[in-house]
Amino acid sequence: MLLKRIQAAWFGIHFFLVIAVSFAGLFWLIAERSTILPSAWDNYARKAELVASWCLGKEAGASNPVRLTIATYLHAAGIQAGYTFFAPNVPNPHRLTLQLFYQDGRIEYESPRVHGRAAALRLDTLLDRLAEERYEPVREAVVKRLAFSVWREHPEVKKIRATFGSVNPPDMNEFEQGKTEIFQPMFSFDFSLRDEEQQ
């Protein structure tokens, strides 16, 4: 009977955390005005998201043992991210174009590449995340590494201009009228790779 009680208690805590993570994500979407709900809900959603985050220990200090324990458990159980896939709307895909400047004046265009389809899906996930505001602090570092991965295959390149942007696909009616996707640049970085090599 004791084992049953322990298991029942674990069940309660585990699914409490699943609910907290899921609703934190859902309330965040509402607070960010990504949903069809009226803007009057924003404040309530923001407060509800804070409550859910508090339940997950995220309001505590970075070294708080409760916060660390919960975070470790969430990752170990694979429940750290909510289940709002492709919701509330499917985001635009993103593209990273690398303009390769050679010493002899040539210019070529490249993109970061992987071998298999499974890895390609991951690369696209990475690009979609780069567009999110919360990953802004690591953007340059990630783009620099991606540019560097291409430069290793083209060591004679002098400079790389990395342009990251969103691809707006046509809707169904626009597609029937012959319209195609539109690339909207979001940011770009110039990397001087001779300097990189010297470092």
């Binding site: 069809i36 709900l37 429940i79 899906l121 590494r145 696909p169």
Partner: protein, 320 residues
């Protein structure tokens, strides 16, 4: 006075007993065999699909795509106790084993664990190894991780805690292990079932809050966006009047899953629809690993007939 207290406690006791009866139904281990074999297949395919990119994805900066330091830094910021590939590489270094060799060994370990799970050989150690190595890879991958990884971690987490081995495994044939407690088997199946109900309810609710699921534009956008664009837009646009119906159906199917999957009359219909949806996601968008893990979870949770009656339970296993 004593009678009054009993009357007051009875509803609480009743509720608690109902809760326990729900949590611990009698269950055979057939669902666990389906779960083990399915997760074994998933782990094996995961390792094989990433074979050519494994080192490139998880190598240190300067050798790989983005280098695993960034993903590991983000993970460490969350908690330094979350396993990552750097742990294995540090251990390898102390034995003078190179990073490349450690990563190769991790991949081989994952592939072997998947094959062992498929066969049911050393089931629990294989489940623990698969969970640990996959978690290390997922956490070191950082921004490269997507939904299939989270579901795989969850599936492996539950599998290593389940009462393994089942009686279809090689472990059972070789070591003649005893039948497991049917209540424990029932409990872990309930965990899986309840988890799926939350997954679909939240997913369906979040989709219903997006305008694009009401007019079919989200389905259009998800099917034409690279790298999911396996179907040509010219073909897809012919179904422009069907897409809104399909979009709303998906939202309703997911959101009502926690209700209709429990009702005996509607269970089969909901299960078939959900399986068809995941099969379509796999075939039409190329999300094979994501589709497979969801199909496995659904089949193990609701696909195998349930529950067994008390009389069918292995003798001597009833918890009094």
């Amino acid at each position: 006075m004593h009678v009054e207290r009993q009357v007051r406690l009875n509803p609480l006791h009743k509720a608690w007993n109902c809760f326990l009866a729900f949590l611990f139904p009698l269950e055979s281990d057939t669902w666990l065999a389906v779960f083990r074999i399915g997760v074994g297949l998933q782990v094996t395919l995961y390792a094989l699909f990433l074979r050519s990119d494994w080192y490139y994805l998880f190598a240190i900066s300067g050798k790989g795509l983005v280098g695993r330091e960034l993903g590991e830094a983000l993970t460490t910021f969350e908690s330094p106790f979350i396993p990552k590939l750097a742990w294995l590489i540090t251990v390898g270094r102390s034995f003078k084993i190179s990073e490349e060799t450690v990563l190769t060994l991790a991949w081989v370990g994952l592939l072997c664990a998947g094959c062992f799970l498929l066969l049911g050989l050393l089931s629990r150690p294989a489940a623990i190894v698969a969970w640990f190595v996959h978690l290390c890879a997922a956490e070191s991958g950082g921004l490269l991780v997507y939904g299939a990884d989270n579901f795989m971690t969850t599936a492996l987490f539950y599998l290593m805690l389940c009462p393994l081995p089942d009686h279809y495994s090689l472990d059972h044939w070789v070591a003649k292990t005893k039948s497991k407690d049917p209540h424990a088997l029932g409990f872990w199946r309930r965990v899986l079932q309840v988890h799926l109900c939350f997954v679909y309810f939240i997913g369906g609710l979040a989709k219903l809050l997006g305008s694009g699921w009401w007019d079919g534009s989200n389905l259009w956008r998800s099917l034409i966006r690279p790298p999911f664009n396996l179907i040509s837009p010219e073909f897809l646009v012919q179904f422009k009047y069907v897409l809104p119906f399909l979009g709303i159906s998906i939202c309703l199917l997911e959101m009502t899953y926690p209700v209709f999957i429990w009702l005996r009359r509607t269970r089969r219909v909901w299960l078939v629809c959900i399986l068809a949806m995941h099969a379509a996601i796999g075939l039409m968008m190329g999300l094979y690993l994501f589709a497979l893990v969801m199909i496995i979870l659904n089949l193990a949770a609701f696909g195998v007939p349930w529950p067994i009656t008390r009389a069918e339970a292995p003798s001597g296993q009833h918890e009094q």
